[in-house]
């Protein structure tokens, strides 16, 4: 209908001098954008279907393609942007909730980019990581300062359950169903080789991946999909998902069309039924109910595995964290508002939640003020994009970070944000067999290993520059950070000084 015609956002630009009509773009585009016309011996495109995933651009052997943002515009309007206008057209047409995938793309401040790191000079030597030991090993779990001695007076090694990471980075929760089996296999194999952990997300654990149990965190989410005793006991740690940064306060919904075969089996629900994760856990309406679930899980696993509670970063995140630290949980995971998702209502994703940097700083401070910081480890997520972000997060007080979007990008994701269509051209956020094939775990896991290895080296270089040779001496070491272009309040909440001070 003309009234709500939405001009294609992207145009495929083909350089016909370079196009050899090899048709790889046609064969590889799941959205059917490209077509070969044999009579004219020419490739043509239908821009309206393009989602800007770059599959065709990346595969084109002669670099004949590029995708550009259309220059078809509305009249300039800083208030009524083209995006706002188009969204109204869509809703007037469909009467439905707008859905989006991946993390909040909006223009909100990125505090990591306004924080700078220190380096040692003159009064304190920096350390060369190529010549001196530089330790990035982290233990996550409760660390209460209490000792017991045996009859000989030696200290007994009695520690609460914990997990060990070779570097303070883990792969974030992404469910089997929202991402493909091949993506899960790549994450599991990479975690195993790197000595870190990956998270099953709320879709359960596929039976073929049980062998990577030592490097797995199993998630118990509000839908309790795939949760049974063997599932819990196979893993290194259990995560109770109370919230997710991309969509705080609401649950999840995987349409019945995707619940087939292995997905249905792993989630333990009949094929074709919608997989609805309710908004609250319907047995957790208060903090004491959470404590009950934490201990049920510990009983089921013989108190051998640490329990993680994952929450979204909302306004009273410090108070919530304080409650969780006293509930018996060993680790708190906080997901900031930039976190990714397979699908979420656009308005919730873009307008609910707070930045992880501020949430982390306040939670760390609050737990220290109450003297209970050592009861739990803190893991943060919600757009950790590089090793510099990892170092800044640790300096603000985190024990470790989760990466979701960064891991998917390493696997080939181009952030086209069309996951909710189920036609991921890179084989990541799809269950279509012909598309899932495109992610070869033998190549995928190697790329993840490369990414984390590279970050590990960068973290060591930054630590060495600061004169620190063990990462625990960086945790909460806010004097190593300075802000630039931040106002008094922001500096106060982050607990750091301004550059120059």
């Amino acid at each position: 209908m003309a009234v709500n015609y939405i001009y294609p956002e992207y145009e495929v630009v083909r350089n016909y001098d370079r196009c050899i009509a090899c048709r790889v773009c046609e064969r590889q585009c799941a959205n059917e954008v490209h077509e070969y016309l044999p009579d004219l011996k020419k490739m043509v495109t239908d821009d309206s279907k393009c989602v800007n995933c770059h599959r065709c651009v990346a595969l084109c052997p002669t670099r004949a393609l590029k995708i550009v943002k259309t220059d078809h515009t509305f009249r300039e309007n800083a208030n009524w942007t083209g995006k706002s206008i188009n969204e109204i057209y869509k809703q007037a047409e469909s009467g439905g909730v707008l859905l989006s995938s991946m993390g909040n793309p909006g223009q909100y401040p990125i505090y990591f980019d306004r924080i700078l790191l220190n380096a040692s000079q003159v009064t304190n030597p920096s350390i060369d990581p190529l010549r001196e030991p530089m330790e990035t090993r982290v233990l996550l779990g409760s660390k209460v300062h209490r000792i017991e001695r045996d009859e000989k007076g030696r200290i007994k090694k009695v520690m609460p359950p914990h997990v060990e990471l070779s570097v303070p980075v883990m792969f974030s929760a992404m469910s089997y169903g929202s991402i493909s089996y091949n993506a899960h296999e790549s994450l599991a194999r990479a975690a195993s080789e790197l000595g870190i952990l990956y998270n099953t997300g709320e879709g359960g654990l596929h039976e073929d991946l049980y062998k990577y149990g030592k490097n797995t965190i199993v998630q118990v989410a509000s839908g309790r999909f795939g949760v049974h005793k063997a599932y819990l006991n196979s893993a290194a740690a259990i995560e109770i998902k109370m919230g997710q940064g991309a969509k705080p306060g609401i649950g999840g919904h995987l349409p019945g069309a995707k619940i087939v075969g292995d997905i249905s089996k792993t989630r333990m629900i009949p094929e074709g039924t919608d997989a609805i994760s309710p908004a609250p856990h319907h047995d957790i309406y208060s903090i004491e109910d959470l404590r009950q679930l934490v201990f049920s899980l510990k009983e089921a696993t013989g108190y051998t595995k640490p329990v993680i509670v994952k929450i979204a970063a909302v306004h009273n995140v410090s108070a919530i964290a304080s409650g969780i630290a006293r509930s018996g949980a060993d680790i708190i995971a906080i997901d900031g508002f930039r976190g990714g998702t397979g699908a979420a209502p656009t308005r919730i994703r873009d307008h609910v939640g707070i930045p992880i940097e501020l949430a982390l700083a306040s939670v760390d401070k609050r737990l220290r003020d109450e003297g209970i910081r050592n009861n739990v480890s803190i893991v943060v997520a919600g757009s950790i994009r590089s090793s510099a972000d990892v170092v800044k997060a640790v300096a603000l007080g985190a024990d470790a970070v989760y990466i979701g979007t960064a891991a998917l990008i390493a696997l080939g994701c181009h952030l086209c944000r069309s996951c909710h269509t189920g036609k991921c051209n890179w084989g990541i956020a799809t269950q279509r067999e012909d598309l899932v094939k495109r992610l070869n775990p033998n190549l995928g896991y190697r790329r993840l290993v490369n990414l984390i290895t590279a970050w590990k080296h960068e973290i060591k270089e930054m630590m060495g520059g600061m004169g620190i040779n063990s990462i625990e001496a960086l945790r909460g070491n806010r004097l190593m950070l300075r802000g630039v272009g931040l106002n008094e309040k922001e500096l106060e909440i982050l607990g750091i000084k301004h550059a120059g001070e």
Binding site: S120, T123, N124, P125, I127, E132, P133, E135, R137, L139, K143, V144, H145, R146, I147, R154, I155, K156, K157, V158, M159, H162, R368, G371, I372, R373, N374, M466, G467, I468, N469, S470, E472, A473, L474, R475, G476, N477, R478, L479, M480
Partner: protein, 362 residues
Amino acid sequence: MREGMFRNLSGCAISGIFSRTGKRFSGKLIVDSMTVMHERSNGLGGGFAGYGIYPEYKDFYAFHIFYDSYAAKKDCEEFLEKHFDIINLSKIPTRKVPQIKDEPLIWRYFLTPLPTKLASSQLDEREFVVKCVFRINTTIKGAYVFSSGKNMGVFKAMGYPEDVGRFYRLEEYEGYCFTGHGRYPTNTPGWWGGAHPFALLDYSVVHNGEISSYDANRRTIEMYGYKCTLLTDTEVITYIIDYLNRKVGLTLKEVCAVIAAPFWSTIERKPQDEREELEFLRSTFDTLLITGPFSIIVGFEGGMMALNDRLKLRSMVVGEKDDMVYVASEEAAIRVIQDELDRVWSPKGGEGVIITLEKGKS
């Protein structure tokens, strides 16, 4: 700006002398030792700690206090009277030395906690004393307790150590252990309280170095009731040692395994018992690990400990002759007071040298 409102980084000189038999010797020796290391300081801080110097009052806590004004003295003494039985009080005897200027009032009190006050606080005696020291230092404006142990005392000021030693007439004191410190700060402090040693109860620390883990350590130790008012490395190190040794109950050797913990690769090669103990200590007390260069001499009742950071980024030399043990930043500082040594060596990074009085001595 007063020390405590900004972070003052410094390089320095340290020295320590200990008699294993408890034989008391003159404070002149430590002053002579520090004089040789003059170039390591810049005149903006010097100090000493002596142990066994108050034998007549050895069962009472000796508080050394700086006052900015008589009003502060009055407020503080009011507080002390409410919480302690004051056995004796006097000005600390000093002599006028041209290099030492702007001296505050310096007073000394021998105290014991009032039994009823102690009972109603439900704390053990030492914790009670610590809490009182913090109360004075954070709430009574103009008063600062800089020494609070039994039969020991800290003497410090703004100036070169040898001048500070003459100012406090250190040669008139006799003890079985003395430590000394000369400071080279990079910011100008305005206040005597910022000089070193830093002391709490009978723990005194002199420190040469600049720790990179400062803020991580401070934010952890402040959870356990300590308040880092001076923002110096020495302060946080003293609190950590007090916490681990007195409150958690670790031996000094175990304390070294926490603050100067060996690398994981070193721990892995140790025999099983030792490995498990080191892993436990390092994992549980991880944020009390101190990184960055440091060499410290810790004095405590009946002993002295010398420790370097695990990469040994600062110098430290130990010398022995008969029952005497000498520790200093430079061998020259030892040789000048004891030329003939039975043994002289540099301890390895991370390995604490702990010396105590032989059994039966006090």
